[in-house]
Symmetry: C2
Subunit: 427 residues, 2 copies
Amino acid sequence: MESFKVGIVGCGTVGGGVVKLLLENAKVIERRIGKKVEIAFVADKEIEKVKRLGIPEEKIFDDGFKALSKECDVVVELIGGTTIAKEIILKAIEKGRHVVTANKALLAESGEELFKKARERGVSLKFEASVGGGIPVIKALREGLSGNRIKRIYGIINGTANYILTEMTEKGVDFETALKKAQELGYAEADPTLDVEGFDAAHKIAILSTLSFGRWVRTENVFVRGIREITPLDIELAAEFGYRVKLLAISKVVDGKLEVRVHPTMIPEEHILSSVNGVFNACLIEGDFVGETLYYGMGAGERPTASAVVADIVDIAMGNTYDVPEELFSDDEKLEIKAPDDFISSFYLRFTAVDRPGVLAKISKVLGDYGISIKMALQKSINVNGGVPVVMTTHPAPKRKVQEAINRIDSFDVILSPTFVCMIEEL
Amino acid sequence: MESFKVGIVGCGTVGGGVVKLLLENAKVIERRIGKKVEIAFVADKEIEKVKRLGIPEEKIFDDGFKALSKECDVVVELIGGTTIAKEIILKAIEKGRHVVTANKALLAESGEELFKKARERGVSLKFEASVGGGIPVIKALREGLSGNRIKRIYGIINGTANYILTEMTEKGVDFETALKKAQELGYAEADPTLDVEGFDAAHKIAILSTLSFGRWVRTENVFVRGIREITPLDIELAAEFGYRVKLLAISKVVDGKLEVRVHPTMIPEEHILSSVNGVFNACLIEGDFVGETLYYGMGAGERPTASAVVADIVDIAMGNTYDVPEELFSDDEKLEIKAPDDFISSFYLRFTAVDRPGVLAKISKVLGDYGISIKMALQKSINVNGGVPVVMTTHPAPKRKVQEAINRIDSFDVILSPTFVCMIEEL
């Protein structure tokens, strides 16, 4: 039987998972594809750890570059980061090896260069594990929906942030408490910035957007806001309006321009995305023919991510290369990125106002002056920062106008603290 | 630019959708894959209809077999049925053409023979549209999860039945009323048997099971019950226990045997599958590494189904053949199919009893005698068939035992009509 040789560079959580999968499920894969998938080498500084996984010593290298001199069909880069990882990938491509990576930060930063090199050298560069962990969302988007013009993508693609928001929603705890629990459970890192500030989701939506809309989308093209400002009060008030709060990654074409954004978003509680809780991820992709589709599963972790990496390996072994053709990025029909100020959205606004007659009228007047139409309003007789919360949702309005109106309103004496703003998507 | 030629046999709803997609999105597909996908011919008795889609006369044939003499790379069979469709596919394979079909009934019946012929001739036989309409669930299962041992599959894979149950749940109407509305909206056929009796879902779960569990699973291996017996009362009572009623297709390995079944099932209302409403479909697939994944979208209709057919065409054009290797069906590890009597499940039981003291005790006693443990019980003071409903849910018990107990209970004078039984899956 034909055999296909895999070299693994980086044997941390995901790398270890890939080794385990290839060993444990060797027989299943072999029967399924009619080929043997063999580990040619594993490179990692911690040689003992690799040995304990059952890899024989002669296949273990303490240096990724040295390992690359060994023969193999595909190199799996799982060291992460954007420096050595990039060199390893470039070196592997240069040597004519196919490459599989889970490195979303690197792809969002240097994808254009890396795909070009791979194309020129005639090898594959695959990256299923870079978005949505174990969910085969890249495959669904590129291959399963290959006949469609993609209209919009809505992703819950950061498990840490989703876990925290779910915990806040279900237990009524505040952000810090939920974050601490996520850290204890290993769902959040000691420095949770990438996850809770939305940057990780931004890398991922940049990749999905690039594949969908025929132009390179980089992290700097993504409007990003994190979830630190979300309070249990807003989650509770959103629920009264029939919404759930999610860190949503959004990519859609509106009026001929591409909007790419990641921010806390209120979505209708009866929508299927509202059922995506805890560390689960989901991606809703709408195509012009297929309509709405959704892909759901574990967005991170050793085993789910290994599942995605191995799917890429198997694809290459099967000759399913599906590379990004140059034509995808030809200049015609290239979409412009919309400026955040021009986003049109419904908004949730929570003012903290002095409890005095006429305040609601005063706020409403300013909104009216800026052409912002109120959909629902709610005043609560509870004390927040010495005032009462006055909550409104608006009909769709330009973000710029809403911000201007809020600046004006926040300058009033009767407003006691900065107004909390959250975009709403009716989906 | 290289071009890839598609011949379409059968230009009804789906065939028309495929023609429209290939014409409308030609440019998008071309840019995405770096190849032109061209229509070589369209065969249909109604030539005028095909002409109106914009196909030039010289490419239209009124006979599929005649059309096959024309050169093409892939033949798309969309005439349905299990007779002429089969001949067309066999003829196309014989001529060395790749084949794409949406014909689940044919695959469930003759898949083994057709795949063998295709393998022998060295061509692809692809069938993404046969399950889940536009959802790329076959691709996800075979390619996206290729590294996993599949543990279980739960599918809401018949949109008609799901629409009817959703309508009954949301409006409180009975089966006949909901069916009539489904027919008016074009979601159900004049003869809805295949859909509401569960046979269509059985074809589909047979295909998914075959791909997952390394043995051929045919429709006759599937335990099937339809949704005709479901009443608004049971939907309402299920809700009181925290369940939704869905026509679920289930395939899982339990105690080393394969259970494949389609029947109305009560599932926890907070589970994401409970959010799958109306004509939408969803498939939950659990793998040993990836964990739970779910795929959701439109399970039928001209445009979604065309999306899946075109994905197959593009796959073949890209050289992504992923054929079913003979090894998949080698004899080792071949799973036995479990007999329905041996299913172990929790049950919902609704007895219709005379409103008299001691009845609950009498029922409970019999259940206890058969080793069936009651989880929850509820007696309602409403009149049904001249009696009162006594409702119980059980802990997991063998189906055979439950049936025996019910036969015993139904023989009592105090029981006024046959007991309604529904399996529960905690998912």
